[in-house]
Amino acid sequence: MAIARFTLGFCLALMCLWTFFWPFLPAAIADSSLLRPGCLATLIVFFGATLVLLAARCHEEE
């Protein structure tokens, strides 16, 4: 559960990076080839962490 929560928080931080900071980073730092795989990985892991937490919610009150 703690890992899932941490993962969810990390994904939110990455979402902030890709969405709000990436376009303003210098090109030397913001390698555009990282953006697509980074965003897609963030999306998939975010959904996965949310599912794990939802499953834990279902079990905790059974």
């Binding site: 939110l12 979402m15 709000f20 990436w22 897609l40 949310t50 939802l54 919610r57």
Partner: protein
């Protein structure tokens, strides 16, 4: 991404992080949908231009959409508004803390912006730094609404809504209306009492479920077909 996806994902996040109060989950879900409130400008423009959709689209929608409500400014405004709303009822039993609800409302708004970057289409940039800067931001590989990843995510959210309603007795529909959610969950749970009304098990309940399922399928088709939905 589609509006129902934003609403459902935000609600599921609110539930996943442990928000106990239905009101708090509703607030987080609506905060995740709120950036698309700019659609009201388009509707207003359609009326203003005498139902000339092309004029409304070119002169208002293309200028306004994603500009003022898809950025840090709107996220901060969401957090402040939610904090104020929840703080007014914080003393009521079972209510989550205003700070927690405001934080997750802002997080839901962040996910909305990210989802629109990835799944809003390359021709609809967001403006992440508005009002500090008017810099548009989009990516060329962003999925359009009609592309299959957006459809898969939407169907997964709808399926998740059914699954959660059956398992827990409440669902993302509580973001719209508590009685609607109770009625829906009562149907899905095969006749168990759900909130305001009991649904008797038997042929009548089964017919009602079939009607709901068919209605949902028709609704999905009605949304996706005009967008040129294709399963590539």
């Amino acid at each position: 991404m589609h509006g129902p996806t934003h609403l459902a994902v935000s609600w599921f996040v609110g539930e996943a992080v442990g928000l106990r109060s239905p009101k708090a989950r509703r607030i987080v879900a609506l905060s995740g949908l709120a950036p698309d409130i700019d659609v009201l400008a388009y509707l207003g423009a359609i009326v203003y231009f005498g139902f000339d959709k092309d004029k409304a689209f070119g002169q208002v929608w293309q200028v306004v959409h994603h500009r003022y409500t898809h950025g840090l400014g709107f996220i901060l405004l969401t957090g402040l508004l939610v904090y104020w709303l929840v703080a007014r009822t914080a003393s009521k039993p079972g209510m989550d803390s205003p700070t927690k609800v405001a934080f997750w409302a802002m997080a839901a708004s962040v996910t909305h912006n990210f989802f629109d970057l990835v799944g809003g289409g390359p021709t609809w940039p967001i403006y992440p730094a508005w009002p500090l800067a008017d810099t548009p931001w989009s990516v060329p590989w962003s999925w359009t609404l009609a592309e299959w990843p957006n459809a898969v995510i939407l169907f997964a959210c709808l399926g998740g809504m059914f699954w959660y309603a059956k398992l827990r007795g409440y669902s993302p529909l509580e973001a719209i209306n508590y009685r609607l959610d109770a009625w829906f969950c009562g149907i899905v749970q095969q006749g168990r009492t759900g909130g305001s009304g009991a649904v008797a098990d038997g042929p009548g309940a089964r017919r009602t479920r079939i009607v709901i399922y068919l209605g949902l399928i028709l609704l999905i088709l009605a949304v996706l077909i005009p967008l040129g939905f294709r399963l590539d």
